[in-house]
Amino acid sequence: MSDHHSHEETGGTTSPYAARIRAIEALLLEKGVLTEPEVQDSISYMEARSPANGAKLVARAWVDPDFKKVLLSDGKAAASQLGMDPEHPAEFIVVENTPELHNLIVCTLCSCYPRAILGRPPDWYKSFAYRSRAVREPRSVMREFGFAPPEDVEVVVHDSTADVRYMVLPMRPPGTEDLSEEELATLVTRDSLVGAGVPRSSVRVG
C-alpha cells in the first residue's frame, strides 16, 4: 500500500464518498486506466502549489516594474519566469488594485480558481454564500472579511465564467520601502490574492 492509503485505518465518521473514491481508484488501477505513478504525480502536483506562489509573483511585481508589466499582460509567462508551472488554466490573468479600483474574484458557476498557481481554493471561496453574494453585494462580503474600500474606490467583480483564472495584484502597503522581496512576500495573504482583503502592512515578529 502506498503512503496515501494510511488514512484507511481510521474510517469512522468520514463521508460515504471516501470509500467510493478509493473504490474508483482501486478499480481504475486494476483496469490499467490509470497507473500508481500517474495518481501520485497528480497528488504531488497539487501539494506543490500554494498561495506562496502568488505571494512571490506579487512581491516581485512590487519591486520590479518590468516584471509587473509582464505579470499584468501575460500571467503565465510571469509565472514561468519564477519557475512555476502554469500549464493547466487556459489563461491566467492578473488584475491590479489601484488607489481608484479594487478587484474581487469569484466563480459563481463552480469555484474556478488559479489552482495551477495557488493550489486549492479556501473553503469560503467554494461556499454557496460567497458564490451567490460576491457578484451582488461585493462590499458587504468584503466587510465580513474586515475590509471596506472607501466609496470613491470602484469595486470591480470578476466572475470567472470561462477558461480564464484570475488573481489580484494587491497594492503594496505604505511604509514597506525597506523590506526585502522575501519579507514583502510574507505580507501577501491568500485572501488578498482573491480581493477579499488586503496585504498585511508589517512583517510579523516571532
Binding site: I24, S42, T108, W124, A129, S132, A134
Partner: protein
C-alpha cells in the same frame, strides 16, 4: 447561483482529508490523460440531483463516478461492491 440570497460566509477552513486529496488527484490524472475534461466534470457536477446536499469534494466524487459509468469505464455495481468491501475493512473485525 450568482445573485441568489446567501447567508454569512463561514470563513473556517477544514483540513483537507486524504480522500479529498485523492478525489483531486484522480480527476487531475484523468484530465492529464485526456480521459475527462474540466467541462465534462463541471457538467456532471451541475447535473447532480443532490447538488445542494453534498460537500465540494463529495460532488466531485459523485460526478466522476457518473462520468466513468457514462463512458463505460466502470459500472456502478462494481464501485458499490468495492466501496462496501473498503468500508467493511475500515469498520474492523
Amino acid at each position: 447561483m450568482g445573485g441568489s440570497p446567501g447567508g454569512p460566509i463561514d470563513r473556517g477552513q477544514h483540513e483537507v482529508e486524504d480522500w479529498e486529496r485523492l478525489a483531486d488527484a484522480i480527476n487531475g490524472a484523468l484530465g492529464a490523460k485526456g480521459l475527462q475534461s474540466t467541462d465534462e466534470l463541471r457538467r456532471a457536477i451541475e447535473s447532480l440531483e443532490n447538488y445542494r446536499d453534498l460537500s465540494y469534494y463529495e460532488r466531485w466524487v459523485a460526478a466522476t463516478e457518473n462520468l466513468l459509468v457514462e463512458k463505460g469505464v466502470l459500472s456502478s455495481d462494481e464501485i458499490d461492491e468495492r466501496a462496501a468491501e473498503i468500508e467493511q475493512r475500515w469498520d474492523g473485525p
